[in-house]
Amino acid sequence: MTGDRINIKIKPLGILDLLAFKNLVPGRKKRIQKAPATVIGSLQPVNALACKLHPAVQHLIVGEVREETGDVRTYRLLPHKEKGTEQLAYFRPGQYLSFTFEVEGATVTRPYSISSSPQEALAGYYEITVKRSDGGFISNYIWNNWTVGSEVEAGGPEGQFYYDNLRDRRHIVGIAGGSGITPFRSMAKSILEGDLDISLTLFYGSNRKDEIIFKDDLAALQAASGGRIKVVHVLAEEKVEGFEHGFITAGLLKKYVDLDSCSIFICGPQAMYEHLDSELAKLEMRRKFIRKEVFGEIKNVERLSGYPAEAAGKNFKMLVHMGKRTVEIDAAAGESLLVALERAGLCPPSVCRSGSCGVCRSLLIKGDVFIPADVDGRRQADKKFGYIHPCVTFPLGNLEIVVPRRKVR
């Protein structure tokens, strides 16, 4: 205290202030006694809204299967009401769902963009579109096992690959490769349904004309859009009249659109990103106008720059602490720690499988790892304290990690 004494009076007489003080506790007790003894409900309105927007689990049932091309199918998914999913969560066109599969004793997740629109979710269905690929563990599983009536489990809508009116220009240039077309179909439908007030020029790269997914759908959407949707097909492996040929380049984009008035959205396979990075660099656009969807599992990590050659092809041991269990499992140099955990039947948590969502966040206690810099979506403090995202982390030796149990939903 400094030496200055002040003597405050709120009421004209200081003594009344002291009386007021003495009344503080009795006054509190009176208020409490007078309050109703009503039992408080366990689900408040805002918590209920949060559950509707971000359900921990959505139980779905396959309602329809459509062939799109020879190796692509669209699955229409309906809410499985008997299992408790009354309504499908609303979403933003461009978002994905993370599906959970029980395959050969392992619990595995995969993210799939929603290829249908939010209005269709309100009407009672989602669609996802799956390309069967050689060695595609889950895509083959879906192809072989999902038929009308199959029960499917997904989480809530996830991801940040969507148009934002406060950030993006209203003319979107979409660049899609192969099955990367799925989020753009959702966006295109939303334009027609009035949910997205944008125009979309879509550059869609396919290998061959007969591999174009949603070819008729996209044509119909374009025709009905009054000029708001335009699709430019680019075929890499064949020359066809009326189709662009080759890869999607900076020059090709400029041929069709004024890039000074666009935001670019990209979704496709890893190889396409590698190609586009150098093409888009030529345009010298601000980063804010180029948005990329995450592309999932890293392939061929051993050939990425910075990867220590001596680790390639090796097999390591990983000591895993998970809840009450401690087990030693195999971890191959070329596979992410997440895949190693899944192979061992440990049921680790995961959603994006691309390094960004952080759901698989685990503590590395011992050992060296490789994390490709461009997919390292960790928080800075996690880097400081040794937390990792196993979905984009690769072993360079024997490891010891603490992995959280997957949330019970």
């Binding site: 205290m1 400094t2 200055d4 002040i6 003597n7 405050i8 709120i10 200081g14 202030d17 002291l18 007021a20 003080f21 503080l24 006054g27 208020r31 409490i32 006694q33 007078k34 309050a35 003894a37 039992v39 408080i40 366990s42 408040q44 309105p45 805002v46 918590n47 809204l49 949060a50 509707k52 927007l53 971000h54 609303y90 934002d164 009116n165 406060l166 950030r167 601000r286 980063r287 804010k288 602490h321 809840g323 009450k324 401690t326 960004s356 952080g358 966040r361 206690i365 928080r379 800075q380 403090a381 996690d382 400081k384 304290f385 603490v402 992995v403 959280p404 149990r405 949330k407 019970v408």
Partner: protein, 517 residues
């Protein structure tokens, strides 16, 4: 070091790894208690966290930690985190107390940038409001006495000497049952000085006519004399540092593990049950959540919740939730023209009017906006900045929002806040937005499970402020072995209060454990 395993019984179980829960678990583990910390989310911190979008890492809720102090003049929070617990975190001082703008104030626009430091604050105030010095000086002396009195009450461990209280802390007693406005009026402080000095009211979330003077006084005095600080790598840095410290001390932590039941027998805690079906024996639980949540969802059997416990909940009012617009901008603060760290913008002069408006789903008329780079220059890449604009809403303002209108609604409100900021500060943010995220009450509910999305604890109105809570702490303990930490505990909300509440809850629990209670 704990490696993620856990046992079947503990001296104490902490429910929730928010600020209070983390400190409680660290404090108990340091005392040698066998401690388990359970958290439903996959991260520590609750609201004290971070998230990444593109090349930006955002701070979800913290504006600054008060009562922290520089290394040579430590405040209670720095002493707690660095000396008592010993975590490894780098802290940066916030450059100024705040810039307050009230565009339509009586007598014209009010735009005042206030410094830290008592003398600096007084001098600046005199510059803005000539003739204010005497009343502002008296106000600060009163605030000092409040802080000293709380310190004395803390040291006396609930048994203060009444003579000491009346002789040394008479003003504290005489103001304890009044609102902030009552005291300002008694001091005859000039109107515009009142407006400047009350700028921090929104951190407590009650209009000045109802806000307890004591709690505001303690907060204000600590801000002015001990400055304010923020962690280098957002709140996730100190919460992860606390996580590491708890493990190092042998405490167990389980993420993705929601407590479903706090088991009660004969009026005392006997264990907890989790979402994974774990049944863990313990006689001591520290709940880092609201009594509303504990009584309505966790206590098992529900009949163990006494009628008086429901009455106590229903007599109190759960504080506000928040709405935050996070911007990653591709220009530097200099290029944008953002010179301050902290901006309070009140579109209407009367704080009670703003308080009322926060209960309605309409254009926000009060915001607290931060430009993080002005305290942590390298918080984002060179040539970029992080700005977040925060307003408050009652959870119930959002109760009729449907998912189909939700995304458009949140962008509309975000746009209104950005517009207001741009207009009042005369800058352009819109053209530089590289990343944007918007959190609503539903977002806070999603990640923390907070009661109706609230980010504050019970409203610290006069009758439910720190002092009356302190004086009734023992008699309002309705279940043996259960303590509360966090914003709903007796210290009220805010980072410094919730962090310190964890220590108090841990020490009370430790005492009970030692005494076999």
């Amino acid at each position: 070091m704990s490696k993620g395993g856990f046992s079947d019984s503990y001296d104490a179980v902490v429910v929730g790894a928010g600020n209070g829960g983390l400190v409680a678990a660290a404090t108990l583990a340091a005392k040698g208690c066998k401690t388990l910390l359970l958290e439903q989310h996959n991260l520590p911190g609750g609201f004290a966290s971070s998230f990444v979008r593109g090349r930006f890492e955002f701070e979800p809720s913290l504006h600054e930690v008060s009562d922290f102090g520089p290394p040579h003049d430590k405040g209670n929070v720095r002493i707690l985190l660095e000396d008592k617990i010993g975590i490894d975190t780098e802290w940066f001082p916030v450059p100024e107390a705040y810039r307050l703008i009230i565009p339509h104030e009586k007598g014209g626009r009010l735009d005042a940038t206030m410094p830290f430091g008592e003398e600096e604050y007084l001098a600046k105030m005199e510059e803005y409001v000539p003739g204010s010095r005497e009343s502002v000086y008296k106000f600060i002396r009163l605030c000092e006495e409040v802080v000293d009195a709380f310190t004395y009450l803390g040291q006396s461990r609930g048994n203060p000497d009444k003579k000491v209280l009346t002789s040394k802390y008479g003003n504290f007693l005489k103001t304890a049952s009044y609102s902030l406005q009552d005291v300002l009026d008694a001091l005859k402080m000039p109107y515009r000085a009142q407006k400047i000095i009350t700028a921090y009211w929104c951190y407590l979330g009650v209009g000045v006519k109802d806000l307890s003077f004591s709690i505001f006084a303690a907060m204000f005095y600590r801000y002015i004399t001990k400055q304010a600080f923020i962690p280098r790598y957002r709140s996730h840095e100190f919460t992860t540092a606390l996580d590491m410290k708890i493990r190092e001390l042998g405490g167990d932590i389980l993420y993705n593990t929601r407590v479903e039941k706090i088991l009660v027998e004969d009026g005392r805690v006997v264990g907890v049950e989790t979402s994974h079906g774990d049944r863990i024996k313990t006689n001591h639980v520290i709940a880092n959540t609201s009594p509303h949540t504990v009584y309505s969802r966790l206590i098992h059997p529900r009949t163990a919740v006494l009628e008086i416990a429901w009455k106590t909940c229903n007599a109190r009012k759960v504080g506000f939730s928040a709405f935050v617009v996070y911007l990653g901008l591709d220009k530097s603060p200099q290029e944008l023209g953002l010179n301050e760290y902290s901006y309070f913008i009140y579109s209407t002069p009367d704080t009670n009017d703003i308080y009322d408006a926060f209960h309605r789903l309409e254009r926000p008329i009060g915001q607290a906006t931060v430009c993080l780079n002005n305290a942590v220059p390298d918080c984002s890449p060179e040539g970029t900045s992080i700005v977040y604009l925060t307003t408050l809403f009652s959870g119930d303002a959002w109760k009729n929002v449907s998912p189909a209108e939700y995304f458009k609604l949140k962008n509309r409100i975000a746009e209104e806040m950005i517009d207001e900021f741009e207009k009042v500060v005369n800058v352009n943010l819109r053209d530089s937005i590289e990343e944007i995220e918007v959190a609503t009450p539903a977002t806070f509910a999603r990640y923390t499970g907070a009661f109706n999305g609230g980010i504050y604890g019970y409203e610290p109105v006069v009758w439910d402020s720190v002092l009356p809570r302190m004086m009734t702490m023992n008699e309002e303990k309705y279940i043996k072995g259960l303590e509360f930490a966090g914003g709903f505990a007796f210290r009220c909300h805010g980072y410094s209060s919730s962090l310190q509440s964890g220590e108090t809850a841990a020490l009370l629990t430790y005492k009970d454990i030692m005494e076999g209670k």
